[in-house]
Symmetry: C2
Subunit: 362 residues, 2 copies
Amino acid sequence: MADITASRRVRRTPFTPGVEAAGVRGYTVYNHTLLATRFGHDFVDDYHHLKRHVQVWDVACERQVSVRGPDAGHLMQLISPRDLGRMADDQCYYIPIIDRAGGMLNDPVAVKHSRDHFWLSIADGDLLQYLLGVADALGFNVEIDEPDVSPLAVQGPRADDLMARVFGDAVRDIRFFRYRRLPFEGHEMVVARSGWSKQGGFEIYVDDFDLGMPLWNRLFEAGEDLEVRAGCPNLIERVEGGLLSFGNDMTRENTPFEAGLGKFVNSPANYLGKAALLARPARRMIRPLAIAGDLPPCDRLWPVLAGGRQVGQVTSAVHSPDFGINVAIGMIGDSHWDAGAKVEVETQDGMRDAVVQAKFWI
Amino acid sequence: MADITASRRVRRTPFTPGVEAAGVRGYTVYNHTLLATRFGHDFVDDYHHLKRHVQVWDVACERQVSVRGPDAGHLMQLISPRDLGRMADDQCYYIPIIDRAGGMLNDPVAVKHSRDHFWLSIADGDLLQYLLGVADALGFNVEIDEPDVSPLAVQGPRADDLMARVFGDAVRDIRFFRYRRLPFEGHEMVVARSGWSKQGGFEIYVDDFDLGMPLWNRLFEAGEDLEVRAGCPNLIERVEGGLLSFGNDMTRENTPFEAGLGKFVNSPANYLGKAALLARPARRMIRPLAIAGDLPPCDRLWPVLAGGRQVGQVTSAVHSPDFGINVAIGMIGDSHWDAGAKVEVETQDGMRDAVVQAKFWI
């Protein structure tokens, strides 16, 4: 490919100096922010390392939309089909956000601070603008902005050990998708057990730009004997685990049902998309696929065919060393969404045979 | 820097094969879409070429937000301070979009198709989500989506000659910020006299992905003796000309007044941000600056200081070969916004002397 060109619009993060010093070789742009995709070491080696050791990821690109004020709860109710009624004040919820037609606008993790204050840790897309549009139109009493908060992820089987050395043993007691406020250099930060891998770990919501590199350095000093490494979300691992990427695997054209997120459609509230969503049963759905042969990079939609007719599309695909096959995520029509269905995938390098799988590789 | 990594989320355009064949060396990401920043030839040579010849730019990243339906006009009135009352059906308007607090959300070019149908050719940011939020909240009867439309720009002093060879002499009669529907391979396309340079030219709104490369190729065949070259928005030329970049030079923190766009605040309608905007006189404003010395890339905010106190920030800066100085765009407080004011600019490589200018270099 070609170099990424920096500008104020493609933002550096508090951790960019650390990422650069670790030998970043590839970037993508996510929420107008740099996100590393590749480091000096081998891509497959990084994958094995993530599954065995511990990595520190600059995921500052998971920008926060802060929703605060007397109408915050009401606004949250209007935009998501997920029931937030029993959400605790130290809890994180994965919540699809939908428009009035039931189409997905984003799939953030909501972090609840109080009844009147939430952060939405967003996937790629300016979800802030949708919330602002709704709030402005209705004259809500709520502040919506992007605070100085940059998540840093610590992922992998040794994540607890590394985090305990920096934040103390309290981290071991944090439950999945819960958080605690823990001090670093006298400053309390939200530390949640979450992250975009299936290997376990934490996300630290660093809410002071100037504490970014001190925290980065402390983690690397503390983790030297744990073989800690600078990393980034790993395509192989996330496809194996079925972690969806908004904008890749589903878009506004898809409902939460199509994205396989039907269990998060349970709100009793009268959210904006309720009538439309409940009237749109899924006729296509996210499915794991195993694809045969050699694959080029999946940098565009790959049509999925059966008997010469398009029955779906593949949106993420890569070779899995651990499973010895090409693992893929696709949106497949109901005629071929059952496990075992045989289909063909049209890549830029030609057709490949594929089989729909019963489940992801976890 | 490092490579840009392709994925479905960072979209290729209809013209990407042409851009690749032309030897692209650098990309940025703009509206989730690839935008070239650098080709094989020298950056400064490209700048001179743009001012003397003609270039074809893949600006498909200027995505369109289509607003269509009985409430389209009402929605347009709510979101912009610009009076659209006298806009003709073949006209393009540069319109700031603001929120209820008067902060800028984008600065698109609106293309009017009819009273009930507009395209907004947007700067970097998912403005679609704001429009959708307003329309969803108010239950408007309007369709808001991103159509298959990819602008291709033809810019430079020989643009009329090149375009006439492909679209006929009718292009010569198109007035500034007006458009005509002209046929290419039997398909009518919007061809507007507009573009993100001060060298003159056109933007072709290619509304069929599959016509992208045929049009690209035709332009290059027709323009061989005009020395046509694949190009991209040129940082030097646009800073000299004072063309603002939303997300770089102004953000939601700024009003249109601060961005120097006060002349577009003239709507008699009761737009959402009216009360707040009119109550926020500008105490800082976009200004041209000349900066002394050698400059590193302006890839972050540079504080502007006077007497040790911050009085503004520089957001775009680069050396201008034609003017023999470093040209820059900054947001400067009222204590130092007069022409001739002496300030200091804090770059990542140290302090530089600078002088506020009376006007841009055009």
